[in-house]
Symmetry: C3
Subunit: 215 residues, 3 copies
C-alpha cells in the first residue's frame, strides 16, 4: 500500500503510472474493437476491454506471487480500461476512421511498455532472468491471448506475425543489458526500443515466423 | 481454518453455508446439462459440473488473494458439485422434464447469492469498492464463462441477455447501501433481490443489452 | 529456495528431478506435435510445448498456494520444455516416424508420474485427501486441457478415452494406500502403476467412458 501511495509524492512515479495507464487505454480500445467485430453486447465489450488491457499483467502477477494483482488492487486500471471501452462503444464511427497503421504503432508502443515493465517487475520478485523474459512476454501478449480465447479463436499471437517474438527480443536485450551492468533506465529504454522497432518493421516488411508444415 | 471451523458453532453460519451449497448444487446441475448437450463423457460432465459451480469463486479467490480458494480448502463444495453432476448423469430423463422457467429462476437465485457473497468477501479482503463490484460479478458469472470456454464457445454472458448486468447492478446497490451505512444484512438482502428481480424480469421481457453493429 | 538447492546434495532428489524433467520433455514434445497440426508458427509451437508440459503443475500450484509455481521458480522446467519443442521443430520428419503406440506409452508414463506427484504435493500443502485426488488429476491433464483450449478445441480429455479417469484412479489408490499406512514409496509406486496400466490397457481395448445421449 505504501508503495502505491508513494507514487503521489515523486514525479518519476507519476510519469511511470501515466505511461502505464496510457498502455492500458490503448489495449482497452483494441479489446473493444475486437468485441464489436465478434458481435458482443455492451457487457461483453467492457469485459474484452478490461481483459485485453490488464489480463497480461494479472497472469504475470499471479505467477510471480504479487497477489492481489496490481490492476485489482489499484482501481485506476479498471476505470481506465472501462473508459476506453465505453468511448469505443459510443463513438465507434470515429474509431473506424483511425488509420490501421496508427493503431498498430500505438499497439507496438503498448506492447513494448508492458514487456519492459513485466521483466522489471519479475526481477523485483526474484524470478530467474530466463523466466523473467517469459514474464515480460506474458505481460505484453497475455491480454490479447485471453481476448482471443473469449472469442473462441486460436490466439493470433500463436499463429501469425512477429509480435510475441518482438516482446521476447526486447526482454532479452534488457536482461543482457543488466548482465552488462548498464544503468536500469538505459536498459529499459533500450529493451523497449528494440521491441517497438522490431514490431513496426516486421509489419512494414510483412515478416512471419517460420513454421513446420504438418499434414 | 478457525473461520471454517467456527461455522459449526453458530447457527447463522450454518445457514450461510447451506445457502452457498444450494447455489453450488444449482450451478452444478446446469453445468452437467450443458455437458450432455456438448456430447461430453462422464468425466467431462463431472468437470463441467464442478467448474460451473465453483469456477467463479475460485477465480475471485485467486484474484483477491485467498489461497487456496475456499472451494479447494473445503471439500464439501466439491462433493456437492459432483453429487449434482452425478444426479443429472443417472436421472437425465427426469431433468429434461423440469420446466426451463424453473431452472431459470433457480439460476437467478444462484447468481444473486454468488454475486452478493462475492462482493462481501472482496470487501473483507480490503479490495476497493469499485473493484469489489467486479469481483461480485466474476463470482456469479465466472463459472459459466469457463464452462462455455471448455465447450469451445463464446461465453453466452458476453453476447446475450441481462445476466452479468443484473449481477453488477445488485453488487452496485450493495456498495451504495454500505456507503449509506445501512446494516450489512439489509444491504446484502437488497443487493440480492435487485439482482434476482432484474434477471427474472429481463428474461420475461426478453431484454437485451445494446450493442454496436460492426461491419 | 533451500528445498530447491538441497536437490543437488542427495541422490534421491536428483532422481526425482530427473524423472520429473523427463515427464516434462515428453509432454512438451506432444504439445509441439499438436502445434504443428494446428498450423501454429515457431512461437506458438514453443508456447504449446511449454504449456502442455508445465500447465497442469502451474494450475495445481496456484490452487494449493505454492506461488510462484515450481516451474516458474525453477528455470530448468522451462528450458526442458523449450528444448523439447525446438527439437520437434527442427527434426519434425524424424518425429513423424515414431510409432504412435510408443508416444502413447510415454505419455501414459508422464501422466502417471504427474498425477502421483500432484497428489503428493497437494497433501504436503495440507489439502484434504478428496481434493488432493483432484489436484493429482489436474496435474496430469491440466496442461493438455490448456493446449486444446489454445487450439480453440473442446479438450479431448472431456470427451474421449480413459485418460483423466486413469489419473483419478491412480490418485485414489494412492490415498487409499496412505489411509492404510503403507509406506510412501510403495503407495506412490502403486498409484503410478495403476494409472499407467489402466491408461495403456484402455487404449489397447478401446475403452470409452459412458455418456448420456442428449438430443
Amino acid at each position: 500500500m505504501t508503495a502505491t501511495r508513494s507514487r503521489f509524492h515523486y514525479n518519476p512515479d507519476y510519469l511511470l503510472l501515466a505511461v502505464d495507464l496510457l498502455g492500458t487505454l490503448v489495449f482497452a480500445i483494441e479489446g473493444a474493437l475486437a468485441a464489436i467485430k465478434g458481435d458482443l453486447d455492451f457487457f461483453g465489450l467492457m469485459v474484452l476491454s478490461f481483459i485485453t488491457a490488464v489480463g497480461g499483467g494479472i497472469v504475470r502477477d499471479l505467477l510471480i506471487g504479487d497477489v492481489p494483482p496490481n490492476s485489482i488492487r489499484d482501481w485506476r486500471y479498471g476505470v481506465t480500461a472501462f473508459a476506453g471501452g465505453a468511448t469505443v462503444f459510443f463513438f465507434y464511427e470515429r474509431f473506424q476512421q483511425i488509420p490501421s497503421n496508427l493503431l498498430m504503432v500505438l499497439d507496438a508502443a503498448g506492447l513494448s511498455l508492458f514487456a519492459v515493465a513485466g521483466v522489471g517487475k519479475a526481477l523485483e520478485y526474484k524470478i530467474h532472468p530466463f523466466v523473467a523474459i517469459l514474464m515480460g512476454c506474458i505481460t505484453g501478449v497475455g491480454g490479447g491471448t485471453i481476448r482471443d480465447l473469449l472469442l473462441a479463436q486460436v490466439p493470433t499471437v500463436l499463429r501469425a506475425d512477429v509480435y510475441a517474438s518482438a516482446a521476447l527480443t526486447g526482454a532479452a536485450v534488457m536482461i543482457a543489458g543488466l548482465k552488462l551492468r548498464l544503468p536500469r533506465v538505459v536498459v529499459m529504454t533500450l529493451g523497449g526500443i528494440v521491441c517497438f522497432v522490431l514490431r513496426v518493421v516486421s509489419v512494414w516488411q510483412a515478416w512471419q515466423l517460420p513454421r513446420v508444415l504438418g499434414r
